[in-house]
Amino acid sequence: MSPMAQPGPLQELLPSDPSSIAGYRLLGRLGAGGMGVVYLGRTESGELAAVKVTLADQADQPDFRARFRREVEAARRVVSPWAVPVTGADPDAPEPWMATAFVPGPSVGEAVRAHGPLPERSVRILGGAVARALAAVHAAGLVHRDVKPGNVLLAVDGPRLIDFGIARTSGETALTATDMVVGTPGFLAPEQAEARTDAIGPPADVFALGCLLAYATTGRPPFGAGAVDALMYRTVHDEPDLAGVPEDLLPLLAACLAKDPADRPIAEEIADRLTEDTPGTAADWLPAPVVTTIAERSAAMLTLPDIDPTAPGTDPDAPAKPSRRGFLLLGAGAAVLAAGGGAFALLDRRDDTGADGKHPAPKPRNTWAIGVLADLSGPAREIGRAQERGARLAVERFNALHKGKPFTLELKVSDDRGQSAGALAAARRLTTDPSVLAVLGPTSDDTGIAALPAFEEAGVPLLTTSAGYNLFTLRGDGGGAPNTTVLRAIPQHFMAGVYLAWSATLLPQIRRPGVLQERTDDQYGWQYTSGARFGFKQAGITPHFRVIPGRTTDYRRIIGEMIDAGIDAYIHNGVRSTAVLAARALKQLGFTGPRFAGQHVFGPEFLKEAGSDAEGWFVCAPVIDPVQRAADPKQKPADRKLTQELLDAHRKRYGTTPAFYTGESFDVVNMVTSWLATSAAKGPLTRKGLWEALRKQKYTGAMGGYQFRDNGELIGVGTFLYGVQKGAYKYFGPAPAEPKKKA
């Protein structure tokens, strides 16, 4: 059943076909092959799904079911807006099946065949999104192995990668007598073509992506077509035919098509190089004829039986208004197209309804999940990816230690892209999944504000290592409900501002610090500034304050005024980009006093962007560098051992030392998993009461200890002072817990 392709022209069910499979009512056939059949199905809640059923005789091949199960589990960990989610599966059925959200768009192959090559901008967006999806696949420990035009579908809001590495067996795409080659000729990497099985890894997908993009932009596969043997020979030995590829894309495609896997870029890098923008609507990123095809197919779906115009859930953000829902469905098919995330949510929610008689009671779980809600592709992606890695290492550590007893843990990752819009939906992908017990996140304040209701509704604890917005924890004093959802492993911004001020008081010469609040992120700036005001007051210091509009660029004038007012230190309560401007102005104006900044400025980007202007700055951050901690003789040997364990695991898994925020995320997830492991013996695991139980933990991890107040706020300073020296952050130690008073 090589064409897992959705949907193609929909064919009627054959008399021999079942009318339903598990909870799916079957509406028609999307494709069929030697392995089985792909059906279009509909859930009781009205969502469309592609249901792939494997024939019993195929399923009885040795190891098939075990591999199927493993791959489905892995695929469930892949959460990307650009990958079609697996919404259900049963590897133990006589005919094992797996369901994915249904996307009615044409594949890249269909679109190019029908309408010719895609314009450059479409190809860039296509490439960026598929690269992102592949990054998620690779992060889940999978290799797709069959990236090709038929496996990328075009939807209004962007492309979708399907069929990632699941139940793909030798029989499905066997091309050689030895049944070792898996994939599609013309889109195979040399190592695949030569069936060097042990050499096939993520770079093979990158090669295939290069072929896919070359095809999309020229209409020709870069190694031609025709006889399979010749095609494979050319793949291994010849240079790709990239004539007609736009100049801007040429170096990237050539790099993807390098013969040596080690020479190819990784998927994340490709995504970064192609991300200039993301699609808003189909008209925004696809040529008109392709949009028309999508619209026609969507419209065809509307004529299928059992459309319930009031079915909720296709858009988690939308109010459940029947009239509007009906309008959407009958209008442009937009709701059907939006089914990706919503169907996932509904299907999983259905698992919780075992008691209503319609569904069997849920089996006792032996697999649970920790979620990650992070910015993996937006402005804070460096931090978000570091957090994901920390969480993944913690989950893998748990599974290695416990070997499935009493349960196995999965990591489910949802990318909020650092945007408020869509963050709630990204959160609900996790909170509506009943296997998810707790979530690490969010990366940023704004996405957290948007996403919080999902966690409150579902009672899922949310543990953050980077979001300092005060009201995540400081609630209830104004008459509302107190926080019972968020645990914050860092200080809130106000406290961070206090500790920043107290760090400054360590320098005895400071009498009149200049505190600048710039309003690009006004919550952050205001809270840091209030905290600094409080902190300096405790030290008997009256700062000189300035407040300026966000994105002001004339820092030379503003800082000149502050210097004229007699400041002897500078404190920047604003975002990184303006700190860079301030650093330049301070240097140009010959200011010699100390300069300070907080969390938003901390990170490698500031060093890169400010260059030598950053030299000598002090930056307070809520995180520690594990490398410096492991080498710190002031730490107890036992504590350093934990840190070293993290360093070793990270190097083994990712080949590098951990970025900032990885260690704290590792710790927080370890705190959750260790509590789960001990309490699993006492009864079934549940979200209920979990926040309170975690809040009472006194946990010591690789980066230090964590304890929480009644409101979920971190106890302790949790702020660390760094100085920029020779273009790097030198760790000075924790910020002082009290001000150094002036004599």
């Binding site: 408020s420 704004d446 504000i449 005060n470 009201l471 400081l474 609630r475 004093d477 104004g478 008459g479 509302g480 809130q492 106000f494 406290m495 206090v498 505190v515 609040q517 309003r519 690009t520 006004d522 919550q523 205001w526 809270q527 500034t529 209030s530 905290g531 005001r533 409080f534 405790q538 000189h544 304050f545 300035r546 407040v547 300026i548 509009p549 966000g550 994105r551 002001t552 660029t553 004339d554 004038r557 503003i558 817990a737 009290e738």
Partner: protein
């Protein structure tokens, strides 16, 4: 020692949080005596501001309706500024009712408000004073509304920033002889944060109000909003017999009235 600091800090943090919550649910206010705002020195015609502070798809203003002359600005300000009818039953005009044209109080280096001159970046500014006179055991409840029309949107943006700066620089301010505010806190709520879903930018200030002629301590609330090149504010000086929560609600309503009028005047399309 550490614990004492901890308590102090928590109290401060909670106070800050509470202030924000107050801002979400109601308005802030202002008072007559600190009627207009300081000179937006920084605005000094077009400090290069890449774009105004808050980003938000709030509404689009009709450029054809943007006031360009003092006469345009005066007409708009007088059409918008809230009077006794907006404040509600029992409110009457004070005398004088409107501020003098060209008046522009400035917060000086010693944190006292004094008369200043209208900056070039301001086309027109007016304050309307209202009150509920003292009656049956209740003190006089004095309120005011101010509308300021700037030449450009960045100028108005700078005024918002400087209002925030004033409370940091001078948490204690002398409004006039015998009248002071103390312990002033301020916070901004650009579009999309703190419950602000309707305007480009807003801020609130809250402090204690002291009047030598009135026994005891009252509250002081100032609520200021920006739509395009126009800022408007409402202020309440608490009086015995009135609850802060109640006057906050009135202030919020007055602010919405002015907001709607400004948007209409500027041809806002959402």
């Amino acid at each position: 020692m550490r614990d004492a600091y901890g308590r102090l800090l928590r109290a401060a943090a909670v106070a800050a949080g509470g202030l924000l919550l107050a801002g979400c649910s109601s308005g802030g206010g202002g008072d007559e005596a600190k009627p207009s705002r300081a000179t937006p020195t920084a605005s000094a015609s077009g400090a290069p501001t890449a774009s105004p502070t808050p980003a938000g798809p709030v509404y689009v203003l009709d450029p054809k309706k943007a006031p360009r002359t003092q006469a345009d600005a005066k007409r708009l300000a007088l059409a918008v500024v809230a009077g006794p009818d907006d404040w509600g039953p029992g409110y009457v005009k004070r005398s004088p009712y409107l501020s003098d044209p060209g008046s522009w109080p400035v917060l000086d280096a010693s944190c006292e408000w004094e008369a200043g001159t209208l900056p070039r970046s301001v086309l027109y500014s007016v304050t309307a004073y209202s009150e509920i006179p003292a009656t049956g055991g209740k003190g006089p409840l004095r309120v005011a509304a101010t509308v300021t029309v700037h030449r450009t949107e960045p100028d108005a943006d700078w005024e918002m920033a400087e209002t925030l700066e004033e409370a940091l620089r001078c948490p204690d301010q002398q409004l006039r002889q015998g009248e002071r505010i103390t312990g002033l806190n301020s916070l901004g709520m650009p579009y999309g944060v703190g419950g602000n879903q309707t305007t480009t930018d807003s801020l609130i200030e809250r402090g204690e109000y002291h009047n030598d002629a009135i026994k005891g301590q009252q509250y002081y609330t100032w609520f200021q909003t920006r739509v395009g090149q126009v800022t408007f504010a409402s202020v309440v000086k608490g009086a015995s017999g009135y609850a802060e929560g109640d006057t906050n609600a009135v202030q919020a309503r007055v602010n919405v009235f002015m907001q709607d009028r400004v948007k209409e005047q500027l041809g806002a399309q959402s």
